[in-house]
């Protein structure tokens, strides 16, 4: 029997049709995957299902919903929750200073009557912490979590927080349907695997699960059936066993994406080293580098991979000198100064941060300004001299920006548009354009496709490969997505515990990469 049926849902935001005749049904105890690019309408659909106020304040929606066979039109999240729908959000909704127990039982606390409450009513009853802890323990046990329920949430690893969110949902006795919005986005690969086991367990307990994710391999592995959305319409609803990942990606994007790496032409990577790093230490919180040695060949694309927290992000930040650093960096035979970003930029190195919106862009300034600024600041380009004054040559910046916008195909309303309003992929292109303006021979790029949807991902990666080939630019690309590294890199260094665990060719087996990431030595991996 279908637990949830959504029939012909249509939603308009002013004139803009974001959902068109979308139907979706979920059986009891089933794991249903919802797939779609950014902007395909997934969130809007969930907001409707969860009765979010934003839906009703913008004119409601058309269509019909049945939950448990009865008509269902939630006006508020509370109403949806009372019926047994739970949601784990992409951003955690936990209170850091509270204990795990308090977070799980938040707003559903167990209480004991006291003298005061007898007079003033039950809102003043005393919390029954023991009973609450017992309940929390029960939910945590269901998730195979051995963690102490009295610990405060602040300072726990991200993975644990995700589990606590779920524990809170399953603690609700009536829970029938659990919505998971990109739950594994913040988890490392091992945590994600453990997480998927738990999802399976929940479904065996009879809870239906609606699973939203960008990671198609996970969807393939765990779900029973799938609904694919594109541009606000259902493209296909199908049993998972009847569709391949490649087909899924194809339907989602609407064009065929080559998931398999093309056979690469011979690259011009010589034996010469452009960059040598010795005994390199970077004090970046959460991503410490602890005495790393690495040599980078001229003209190659070197991938830096590894699990979160092992220090791969710290390397590029350290070379740039954004965090306290020690050791030796030698580029083309010259020793580079440490902790001096300006000197590094003068040495033909460009850097694209993993924190694109925070470090990489001035969100409230125009595209042209973002593109031109670095080389204006560092190399005195785009200046005109009037008397003793160095003034900015806005005309030159405009011309150059227009050229870059065309070359990199940045989709925007014009060079004056503020970068805040661009999509992730186009923002990344603006960053790349800025780096190119510096005419570097070494490009450090971190997490180039984070937060970018699958279509734009390919464009960004293709751009990097093209730059490498055409301009013979050496690229060091740091990424959490191994698949992407294997797609573009000539060599991949796996970082473990702040050091290079080993360097593998991109066509090495999954197993070898997996073992290196888990900290096994290279000799053991190769044998």
């Amino acid at each position: 029997m279908d637990l949830l049926q959504m029939k012909n849902i249509t939603k308009l935001y002013t004139e803009n049709r974001v959902l068109n005749q979308v139907s979706l049904s979920i059986k009891e105890g089933e794991i249903h995957g919802l797939v779609g690019e950014n902007g395909a309408g997934k969130s809007t659909l969930m907001n409707i299902l969860f009765g979010m106020p934003v839906i009703h304040s913008t004119g409601g929606f058309e269509g019909e919903m049945l939950f448990n066979g009865r008509s269902f039109l939630p006006k508020s999240p509370e109403e949806a929750m009372n019926l047994g729908i739970g949601m784990v959000h992409q951003e955690f909704m936990l209170i850091p200073g509270f204990t795990i127990t308090e977070n799980i039982k938040l707003n559903r606390e167990k209480t004991k009557p006291t003298f005061v409450s007898k007079i003033f009513g039950e809102r003043l009853e005393k919390l029954d912490l023991n009973a609450m802890a017992k309940d929390a323990r029960k939910s945590l046990d269901k998730l195979n979590m051995s963690i102490d329920e009295y610990l405060p949430v602040a300072g726990l690893p991200v993975g644990y927080m995700q589990f606590i969110e779920i524990a809170r949902e399953i603690d609700k006795s009536k829970l029938k349907l659990l919505i998971l919005d990109e739950p594994t986005a913040v988890l490392a690969e091992t945590e994600a695997a453990q997480f998927l086991d738990i999802i399976n367990k929940l479904s065996e307990m009879g809870i239906s699960i609606l699973f939203i994710s960008h990671r198609l391999d996970e969807i393939k592995k765990i779900t029973d059936s799938i609904t694919i959305l594109r541009d606000g319409e259902v493209v296909k609803t199908i049993e998972t066993s009847e569709i391949s990942i490649a087909d899924m990606a194809g339907l989602m994007v609407g064009r065929n994406i080559e998931m398999i790496r093309k056979k690469k032409n011979e690259r011009n990577a010589g034996d010469e080293y452009i960059l040598e790093i010795k005994d390199f230490k970077v004090n970046m919180p959460g991503e410490r580098v602890k005495g790393l040695d690495l040599k980078v060949r001229k003209g190659e694309i070197l991938g830096l991979g590894g699990l979160a927290g092992q220090g791969k992000i710290g390397i590029a930040n350290g070379i740039m000198g954004l965090y306290e650093t020690s050791g030796t960096i030698i580029k083309n035979g010259n020793k580079l100064p440490l902790n001096n970003p300006r000197e590094i930029l003068h040495s033909s190195i460009a850097f694209l941060s993993e924190d694109r919106r925070g470090v990489g862009l001035l969100l409230d300034d125009s595209i042209e300004f973002n593109i031109g600024f670095s080389s204006l600041e560092v190399q005195n380009k785009f200046l005109k001299k009037i008397g003793p004054l160095n003034l900015i040559d806005e005309k030159k910046i405009r011309e150059y920006a227009l050229k870059m916008i065309e070359e990199l195909d940045i989709r925007c309303t014009g060079p004056k548009q503020h970068t805040r309003y661009l999509s992730g992929g186009n923002q990344q292109k603006v960053c790349i354009a800025r780096a190119l303006t510096l005419e570097p021979d070494l490009l450090l790029i971190s997490e180039p496709t984070r937060g970018i949807d699958i279509g734009a991902k390919k464009l960004v990666l293709d751009t990097l490969v093209k730059l490498n080939k055409k301009l013979n630019m050496t690229v060091i690309i740091t990424s959490s997505e191994l698949g992407e590294l294997r797609q573009v890199s000539d060599r991949i260094a796996i970082i473990y515990n702040g050091k290079v665990g080993g360097i593998l060719p991109p066509d090495a087996s999954d197993e070898q990469f997996g073992l290196l990431m888990a900290g096994e030595s290279l000799d053991k991996v190769v044998n």
Partner: protein
């Protein structure tokens, strides 16, 4: 209507409506308009440079400079020294500025260094530094070795007067430069031109490479760092420019006012300046010269028109009370909107 309001911003809309109401009332009460307009022009020129001092502060990332009194006391010292040496006219004005600027620059440098140690709390700390500086200077005014009879108390002895008349030195010197009449309205050309000059210098600096580095350092520290900008240095530069402008600003203010006000007078000098630029549409992260002009014009007009109107229709000093409520209300409103709004 709503589009118009979005375009000019809610606070400016309210104030403009209030101001128009007051002007209509003034006409109705037969208060002579030419006099009011002359006053508005003079008060605009008097205050605009002090408001302009907020621009480099906001741009360099230290937020609104509540520590305006720091620059002001050095401006006062410059003016006092020129009077002590019996300098008058433009020579006096020039010497006042030449003495005040380096002193203010040095003070701004050390204040900037200090602000780099307390990032994120510049405005609170600045307010109290301002209060402390004023109190400290109260002692200085008492023991300062000035001898000119124009400066010390009429009965002799040590210490400076509370208000020093500038009638025989630099009083109204800019106001009367090239001034002309349009009907009964007097246009203080020199005063307005002097502001225009200061604004032009700040504008050119904004358009230069150095000014751009400062603005980027102020708007995104991490971005600036990754582009090789020394953020702390840019913040110090912004603080210095702001302090120097405050020093020049008070000299211009005093010559138009006709008096130097010592002791506790600079205590709340920052408030009207802060209110003006916020009314003009600046935020804690973005300030332009056009904000200075719009804000000062609105704020000072309000002040000039409200005084006679409200004094006629109500008893006592209601006008001052209402003006205070409005100006502080605007500061409060703007501070709660961290994002600010486009001008």
């Amino acid at each position: 209507m709503k589009d118009l309001m979005d375009k000019i911003g809610f606070p400016r809309f309210i104030i403009t409506v209030f101001l128009i109401g007051l002007i209509l009332l003034a006409v109705f009460l037969k208060i002579p308009l030419p006099g009011l307009i002359t006053d508005i022009l003079v008060r605009f020129g008097m205050n605009a440079i002090l408001v302009l001092a907020m621009v480099p502060a906001v741009q360099s990332g230290i937020g609104l400079n509540f520590n305006l009194p720091l620059g002001i006391v050095f401006g006062l010292i410059g003016a006092l020294v020129s009077i002590e040496f019996k300098l008058a006219g433009f020579k006096g004005l020039l010497v006042s500025i030449l003495i005040a600027v380096p002193l203010a620059a040095i003070a701004g440098y050390f204040y900037g260094k200090m602000l780099n140690k307390i990032k994120g709390q510049e405005m609170t700390v600045g307010t109290y530094i301002g209060f402390s500086v004023v109190s400290l200077m109260c002692i200085f005014w008492l023991v300062a070795p000035f001898k000119s009879p124009e400066l010390i108390w009429a009965y002799g002895g040590n210490g400076l007067r509370v208000t020093v008349s500038l009638e025989s030195s630099i009083g109204h010197i800019l106001n009367n430069l090239w001034h002309f009449n349009i009907g009964k309205v007097v246009v203080p050309t020199g005063l307005l031109l002097f502001f225009a000059l200061c604004a032009f210098i700040v504008w050119v600096y904004n358009k230069s490479k150095k000014g751009l580095s400062m603005r980027v350092a102020g708007s995104n520290e991490k971005f600036a760092l990754s582009n090789g900008i020394d953020v702390d240095r840019e913040r110090i530069i912004g603080t210095i420019i702001s302090t120097v402008l405050a020093a020049i600003g008070i000299i211009v203010y005093s010559q138009a006012f006709g008096f130097l006000q010592l002791y506790n007078a600079p205590l709340y000098a920052a408030m009207p300046a802060v209110a003006s630029i916020l009314i003009g549409g600046a935020s804690l992260h973005k300030a332009k010269i056009v904000h200075v002009i719009i804000g000062t014009l609105l704020f000072q007009s309000l002040l000039v028109v409200a005084l006679p109107v409200i004094n006629i229709i109500s008893e006592g000093s209601m006008s001052e009370v209402i003006r205070t409520i409005i100006s502080n209300g605007i500061i409060l409103y703007a501070l709660t909107r961290t994002g600010g709004e486009e001008a």
